[in-house]
Symmetry: C2
Subunit: 379 residues, 2 copies
């Protein structure tokens, strides 16, 4: 049996968790939270980092920081996880969904401008499969129309974008705010977990307050105010030190984890390129401006039936492959609010995209087996 | 040095965490989440349980379930943690703060009715120090005015209330909804963590949907629907299995933990009763309808200066004692919204309540030392 995913432990997670206990602190914002913040900020050039209990919570913090209110419009892809949407719906926003690119499930950067109105407050690009959107295009629109950009970088750790200026920048370091996930299905994990990156300095102080339940507790412990209290809305966005200690063990092994995942990804690509590559079905496309963080290896089938046949065939051979999102503009919750704009590519990916197993402990023989099952199948 | 708190590990936390990894699941709603749900529901007679990443998140779920909207009024004590308040402010509620009882920091049940208006939607009693409010009085008001009751039972695990009918019921099993905390400062911990108890059946199905990010994923995995999608608002309220595994180790040892804490509490009480007890200062009051879960041992000083002197004296002897909440109606965030009603007892507790160290590994000698420091001090 080859599962779709298996969470990987480096071996030091429990050790760090016990160390956290010995410092006398298991609640949030302790030693390991600090280590993770410092590491991520320095490595990827974020303005400021705050760990959260999930990427969902990081997106909710972003919506609060942008003061999203009833009637505001937020532009995002339809082909994304519900949390991208819910975080803004919870603040009262109206969502304006953009179609996916033809060559990639990420949103079509050229279809954004026509959707901007006077009510538009933010654009939320999703770096699908950890592959960059053409973020320069989006930032240019944001500047032109005075909008904020929140990168949904849930899948995009250790992934980069090279703009027209030739500078290679980490995803999540470019938008005003960015949200990352450390869910067990991601490259770097803490079971459930996430992080908000804050790049626009105007949000840094308030982000810390929202994170600490609407109190100025952090400023108090730095000696900047002489008592702390309730100064703003907020929530308990910060994760336990148990989670941060776990995450720290993962981050220490980031390079090894990435090397292994890239090896698996390349084995899939090389093994399937001659066979698939637009004839039988499509393989992932990595634009020139993007790097590949090997978060996901997916196939884009020619039609829904073909995908069903592949899932079935793999299942017969005890391999678990899974599809991904269903277009949010057609969801029971939002279809009546979306109107009648069709989003053809988003629907295609909903029906035709299939994800193959990809995790650290997957063996080369396993990948070969999967490649051969696909090649032998009648599709 | 005697700290105010030290998180206690039973020794099996890491073992269960590794077991969770071996089941292939570290994200939420796995084996250990299920074990915790079942145990808590059965032991305390809750209608349904859902672990959350914090008590704050459980309160936010409650506010969503009650469909709290802009203009709704919610009645709660002023002497409470900011999360009791923020959860409802995030949905647009106006907070109506009630004073504390003279003999206890919990809210004065007899001062609620006069604050009920046509806009009132819910009452949120806080079982301060794990000691029950007179919850029958509050439930009677709720029935009379058609309101919901959300018990803030953050501190109230393994604590009970005996109503006029003579039936002893667990706190958190009485209101329509109830929120618990497993923050490291509580009796049973998971670093950060919480739980929503759902007692009113009308909320059970939707609670599960909100918990699963607004999807009907749980119903899908039970085979009740043939695909799942976005059907409602929601968030990532569920904690990692790492946290649930940790919590399970604690729950297995609940009895031992409670016995030890009660032993400590009783040692404080017996040691200080003759000395304090209304003369120099006040000791905790446990009403006849309530049990004591030994969550907290506090002193109520005669004045703020006396409290400062005690804190200072204990600090000289390397003992860390801390005060607690600041009245929310006087907070920078809410003072202008509260109006000019004075809440005398809430302010008294803000200025005069002092919490002494109380944790599993505290030694009897340590408590004796603290008692002697207090008795020797000039107050």
């Amino acid at each position: 049996m080859i599962p779709f995913n298996k969470p990987y432990l480096t071996g030091k997670e429990a050790h760090y968790m016990y160390d956290a206990v010995h410092t006398g602190k298991l609640s949030g914002n302790g030693k390991y939270t600090g280590l993770c913040h410092e590491f991520l900020k320095k490595k990827y050039g974020f303005g400021k980092c705050l760990l959260t209990t999930s990427c969902t919570d990081a997106l909710e913090m972003a919506a609060l920081l942008l003061d999203i209110k009833a009637g505001d419009e937020v532009i995002m892809p339809s082909y994304t996880f519900v949390s991208t949407a819910n975080a803004f719906v919870l603040r009262g926003a109206h969502l304006v969904f953009v179609d996916s690119r033809e060559d990639h499930p990420g949103m079509d950067e050229d279809k954004i401008e026509e959707l901007i109105t006077e009510k538009t407050k933010a654009i939320v690009p999703v770096h699908y499969a950890g592959v960059a959107c053409d973020i320069d295009k989006i930032m240019t629109l944001a500047t032109k129309y005075n909008l904020y950009v929140v990168e949904d970088a849930a899948q995009a750790i250790e992934s980069f974008y090279t703009g027209k200026d030739g500078v290679k920048r980490a995803l999540g370091s470019i938008g005003h705010l960015a949200a990352f996930s450390f869910h067990e299905t991601k490259n770097i994990i803490s079971g459930e977990g996430g992080m908000l990156a804050i790049n626009d300095p105007q949000f840094m102080e308030r982000a810390e307050i929202l994170w600490e339940k609407g109190t100025n507790r952090s400023a108090f412990f730095r000696g900047e105010v002489d008592k702390y209290g309730w100064v703003d809305v907020g929530s308990s966005f910060l994760p336990s030190e148990i989670i941060a200690a776990f995450l720290w063990a993962q981050l220490e092994n980031l390079q090894g984890i990435q090397e292994k995942r890239l090896e698996h990804w390349n084995q899939y690509y090389e093994g399937l390129n001659d066979w698939g590559a637009g004839k039988i079905l499509d393989l992932p496309h990595i634009p020139e401006f993007a790097t590949n963080n090997a978060h996901m290896f997916y196939l884009v089938c020619k039609e829904a039936d073909q995908r069903d046949r592949i899932i079935e065939k793999l299942k017969e051979h005890k391999v678990h492959a899974v599809f991904h999102y269903l277009s949010l503009h057609k969801s029971p919750f939002y279809k009546d609010k979306h109107g009648d704009r069709t989003l053809e590519h988003a629907d295609d990916y909903s029906e035709c995209l299939l994800r193959l197993p990809l995790f650290y402990e997957l063996k080369g023989e396993g990948i070969d087996r999967i490649i051969n099952i696909l090649k032998d199948a009648e599709l």
